[in-house]
Every structure is written in C-alpha cells, then in structure tokens.
Amino acid sequence: MNLLAEFFAVPLQFDFMQRALLVSVVAGVVCALLSCWMTLTGWSLLGDAVSHAVLPGVVLSYLLGLPFAVGALVFGAGSVALIGAVNRTSRIKEDAAIGIVFTAMFGIGVVLISRIPSQTDLMHILFGNVLGVSDSEIVQILAMAALTLAVVLAKHRDLTLYAFDPVHAHAIGLSPRRLEALLLALLSVTVVVALQAVGIILVVAMVVIPGATAYLLTDRFERMLAIAAAVSATASVLGTYASFHADIATGGAIVVAQACGFVLAYLFAPRHGVLARRLRRTPVRTG
C-alpha cells in the first residue's frame, strides 16, 4: 500500500514528470477519441501514413525555428490531400497511394535529418521526448487538443453517420465529402498532438489501439468513446510512471501499456473476446 503510494507520489515531486503526465494523458485521450472512428472506417493505415509524413515538416520547423506544429500540420494535411489526388487522378489504388506518399515523405525527412549536425533532437522527433517537453510545446499541444475536442464534441454524431452510412448522409442533404475532409483534418491534428508523447514511429498506435480495444468491449458508440479514452489515459499514466521508475523510453512504455490493454480485451472481453466466443461455441457444437 505504502509502496504503491510511493510509486505514484514520488515522481510527482518533479516538475518534468507533472508536465509529461499532462501531455501524455491529453494526447492519449484525444487520440483515443479519434481512434474510434479510425477503427470503424478502416482508416488505420492512413493514421500510419499521416504520422510518418509529418517528419519533413517537423525537421523543417526545427531548421527554420518555427513551432513544430506548423510544419507537422502542413505536411500531415498535405500528405492526406496528396494521397487523395494520386488515388483520384491515376489508376493507382488507395493502399498503394498511401504507401507511396508516406514513404516518400518519410524519405525526405530522413534526407533532411542527415544534413543536420545535432542528432539528439531528431531522436526525440522519432521516438518522442515527453520528459523534456518545453513550455511552448505544451501550449501548442493543449491548444490543438482543445480545438480537436471541441470539434469532436460538436460533430461526433455526423462523423458516426459518415462512418456508418455515407450514402444516407448524402441522401439527406449532408456532404459525405466534407465529413470525410473533417475527419481527415482531425486525424492530422491529432497525430501532431501525440508526436511529443510517443514520437512519429509510434503515434499510429495511439490512433488505432484504444478504439480497437473499446470496440471489443461494447456495442454502443458513446460507450466506445468513453472506454477508449479511459483505457488510453490509463496507459499514458502507467507508461509514463514505468518510464520514470525503470528508466525506459516513455513513448515505448505507453504503447506497450496500450497493447497490454488490447490483449486483455482480446482475450477476456465479455461478448467479443476470444474466450467468450469459445465458451459460447462449444456447447452448440457438442449439443
């Protein structure tokens, strides 16, 4: 008991741990909400693409002394538009368009990095540096998170309608295209929010795993949002503490915590878990 209190209380004496927890929990919650729609629209690969494609933007921001979010957002949204353009204007299918655009962007980022003398900051871009997050970065992250939350709160029913039945959305005079664009824009911003917490390579986990975990645990979309947010926030807290105590990479620890949550749901979810399915099927087979 005492040991548990110590586990959680001692690190809080450090200013950098307070900031790290704030950033990773905020990023975890925002990503978790978006991940619910990613799971249902089958856009998980797109999350991977956007996160990799922001690399040159982040490097350029660093070189030009701009806030990291500016370059990241430009390249994130730009790559989404580029994927759509390649897909629409040629016979290349979407999965190939995604693969081409994100690797090309990532390649440009790697080339840019190789021309930069200091390598430490760039390790932070790739793998996150939530323990060293600066004041200006916190401001950017909180502003983007607040914006995303406000839009998601106001438009979540439309986004769900889009994910479920875009043809009906069209039939009642809404624009599925505009809803798609909104969801893509939210994805771009969300990915950038989580960059500092887990880094470019692992960001995709944040916009895929919580939604997938929650999807195994409920048949109600509102609950799915709540569960995903709770699971993701818990993973952020546990990962950040584990990183402090065991002296391991924070981003990696958070993602491993997310994955553990998923494995538990995958095995033990009451209705959709593997065990529950087995138990339900066996009596039918024998009887």
């Binding site: 029913r157 769900t160 039945d165 043809v167 009906h168 009642i172």
Partner: protein
C-alpha cells in the same frame, strides 16, 4: 380479374392533380464508368403513391439508377427530378429515403436500432444533431410502424434479415421521406419476413409514399408492385407487372434464362 381495372385505378393514383409532377422522373439519363456504359438514355416516370419494381440481372444498372436518382453518381447526360424538384433540393428537404443493400452495411457497427432510425432525423436537427422531443417522438412512431419498438435497444446486427430491412425503412419514415429507394429489400429474407415487409411497404404506398424497389425476386413482383421496370442498361419495358414479366422480355433481360431455354430446345 379484369385487366383494365387495375390500370384505371393506377392511372387515377398516378395523377393526383393536373399540375402535380411525378414522384421520380429521369430524362435521357446516361451514366458511364470509364469505358463501361452503366445506363443508356433512361427515361422513366413514376407517379406518386406507387410501388415500382425495378428488375434486371446483376450489373444491369439497377443500383446505378438509384445512385443517379440520388445524385450520388454524376450522369454524363440527362436530368433527374424528384417530386418536381431538383435532386439536391429534394435531398435537403429530406424527401428521399434510402434503404441500402445488406452487403453495404457494416452490421457489427456499434449502433442500436434506435440510433439508426434517429439518423433519419439529422437533416432536421441543429448542427450538433442533438435530438429534441419531436425527433424522439418521430423515431418512436417509425419503430412502432415497422413493428420494431421492442427491439429499439438492440445492436443493429442483432436483428434478423427482415428486421434489419425494416429498421432502415423506419429510418426513412422518421426522416419524413416521400420517395423511397429500396435496394434488394428481399435478399436474404425468409418468406414470413418478406410478407411483413410487403405489408409495411403496401401501407406506406396507401399513404401516398412512392417506393422504387429493386429486386431479383420476380415471383413477388405482381403481389407487391403496381408497376415494373425492366432494365438492361437501357429501359426494356415499363408498365403493369403482368405486361412487363413476359417470357420474351425476361429472356432479353436475364441472359441465364435465355441460355436455359436454348439448351432445353
């Protein structure tokens, strides 16, 4: 049965007033997907308060005709009017109800039956789509109407084939749609559920709704439909079901039937 009787009744229903435009009117609609001609010069007029069966082989352009009517597929040439209005205006007013084919729906999607029906109301709500009392009342009424009140809280995939179809019909009713496009509503539905759906659809027709029903189920057409359309990229025939469903015309529309005839002979 007197052959002229239903025709006369149909004509009376088709023209509620001299100025009332038809429920759906297409004028020379042609749709091309790249090289493939999906619809060629389709001119069709369906009167108000009618059930019109849309028949044709797989890939004959039935679904394309629906998406062209909804304005989801751009026509290369030709025009569409819904209740005399421009399709975009008709959509904005919520006049068009759409019941998708089973394969187009993700039945594992975490929504309840009542959530799906509520989606019919979104066009009438504020930007955040927060349901008000009138919306809840419309949803309850639509569920009642389609016999789904007791299943309102089920996840959509936990319904039987026929109940699933009725849930989407209920969405259109809650929406206040006047023209319904139903894509294969009888596919994967057992005989008893088919009768229930037929009953619901007939009731809607009697209230003045217009229903376009695409179907493979030729046997059920005379019972359900006031008129039938035979489609094979072009419009082959349009008229009372008994006139349209002649062996000669079916042969023309369904290649497999022609093949069977040939091998039998």
């Amino acid at each position: 049965m007197n052959a002229t009787e239903p025709e006369a009744a149909g004509a009376a229903r088709q023209a509620p007033g001299p100025s009332a435009p038809p429920a759906v009117r297409t004028d020379g609609v042609t749709v091309r997907y790249g090289e493939v001609l999906a619809l060629e010069d389709v001119t069709l007029s369906v009167g108000r308060g009618r059930i019109c069966g849309l028949l044709g082989a797989n890939g004959s352009g039935k679904s394309t005709l629906f998406t062209a009517i909804m304005g989801l597929t751009a026509a290369e040439s030709g025009s569409v009017r819904i209740l005399g209005a421009d399709p975009a205006a008709a959509r904005k007013r919520g006049l068009v109800g759409y019941v998708p084919q089973s394969e187009q729906v993700d039945w594992a999607f975490p929504v309840r039956v009542s959530d799906v029906v509520m989606m019919g109301r979104y066009g009438r709500m504020g930007p955040a789509r927060r349901p008000r009392r009138a919306d809840r009342a419309a949803v309850a009424q639509a569920l009642e109407r389609t016999g789904l009140s007791d299943l309102a809280h089920r996840q959509i995939g936990a319904l039987s084939g026929g109940q699933r179809k009725r849930a989407f019909v209920a969405r259109g009713i809650a929406q206040g749609a006047r023209v319904f496009l139903l894509d294969e509503p009888f596919a994967g539905v057992d005989k008893r559920s088919e009768a229930t759906i037929t009953e619901v659809l007939s009731g809607m027709r009697d209230e003045g709704h217009t229903l376009l029903v695409s179907t493979h189920d030729l046997a059920g057409v005379p019972d359900l439909c006031d008129e039938a359309v035979l489609l094979q990229h072009r419009l082959l025939a349009h008229g009372p079901p008994t006139d349209v469903l002649t062996p000669q015309r079916l042969l023309e529309a369904f290649g497999i039937a022609a093949h069977a005839e040939g091998s039998a002979a």
